[in-house]
Symmetry: C2
Subunit: 184 residues, 2 copies
Amino acid sequence: MESRSELELLVLGIVWKQGPLTAHAVRMEFTHSKSSHWSGSAGAIYPLVRRLEQAGLIAGADERRGRQDRRVLRITPAGRSALRAWLRPPFPDELFTVQYDPIRIRLYFLGLLPAEQQGQFLDAMEQGLSAQLPALEADRDAYLAQGWLHSSLANDGILAVRRAQLEWIAKARALLDRLGESKG
Amino acid sequence: MESRSELELLVLGIVWKQGPLTAHAVRMEFTHSKSSHWSGSAGAIYPLVRRLEQAGLIAGADERRGRQDRRVLRITPAGRSALRAWLRPPFPDELFTVQYDPIRIRLYFLGLLPAEQQGQFLDAMEQGLSAQLPALEADRDAYLAQGWLHSSLANDGILAVRRAQLEWIAKARALLDRLGESKG
DNA sequence: CCGCTCATGTAACTGGTTACATGATTTA
DNA sequence: TAAATCATGTAACCAGTTACATGAGCGG
């Protein structure tokens, strides 16, 4: 069993959950997604889909639509089995290590800025993190309305993390403000 | 002004904060880090340091240690300036998009498993996420003891996110348990 | 019939990784 | 004196990206 990338399993999951669909539709899942970790570029998706098909995890069928063919993808029993294995132990350590956060890595070095600009940085982070909250809440409701319980739960994770980050930023600012005052 | 990768700015920040140090010491920052996003591989760090030096953002000086030379890195005024610019608006959208989370992307597809194994998945996530909490709290204290306020604040972000994730998982399990009972 | 979306694909590039290689220095 | 660590580096690879290319179908 060759080890597959996280993106490959994610695409397999999309084919399972949203399928049958075309590779193009898979791509749209990425381009419309609020996450920017993967772009869903054609150069990534089309070869990847081909690999999954060659491995027997998905099956593509040429469907006529007007004069043109489009390849419609379905998950196979082997694909479902691979997806299940991905959701069962053993899990790679990667799941539990500290994840990448471009805001946090900047915060490590915020002391380089004068106090006033530190406040401006935190303001900008607070604003940026809040901006998408309504849209994310709408997504959660949309998942629920469709009866996609697990997607809704997953989406709750985004909201939980974001709210925690907002509290974190607010606390940092409160602390830095207090320090600034006692000095000035 | 050529645009630099996030890793380049992070290394620049390390040189500012921990410097003067060797490229090898920079590498150790990554290999000992709880985050696994970058490995700090030699093939990444040495060419990167060379690029930063050629751009005038850091300055390397050959120091004698015994019979061997080692190159000690210091940040330059231009480097400090680049680091400040990185901490000031405008910020790329990337900072505010939903970040990669391998636990969350699995949760989207958890419905593929039978209820019992869904519970096992959530158990494993809870355990994995909790395991490093004491070590992360120790880091925070160590930063404070050293007077590195901003590093400590940044580290608080890791803790805040992790605790939020734990609550999120606990809520998901409570919900799924309730649903399972009402069915059985 | 024009522009947008659907649909599939490739070529060149990029920012990393793994694995390998070398040699001095320090520690048990 | 052997093993671990410090220190620097390169070659081959890899999983993605950007940009480009083609063409059919569809709505105004």
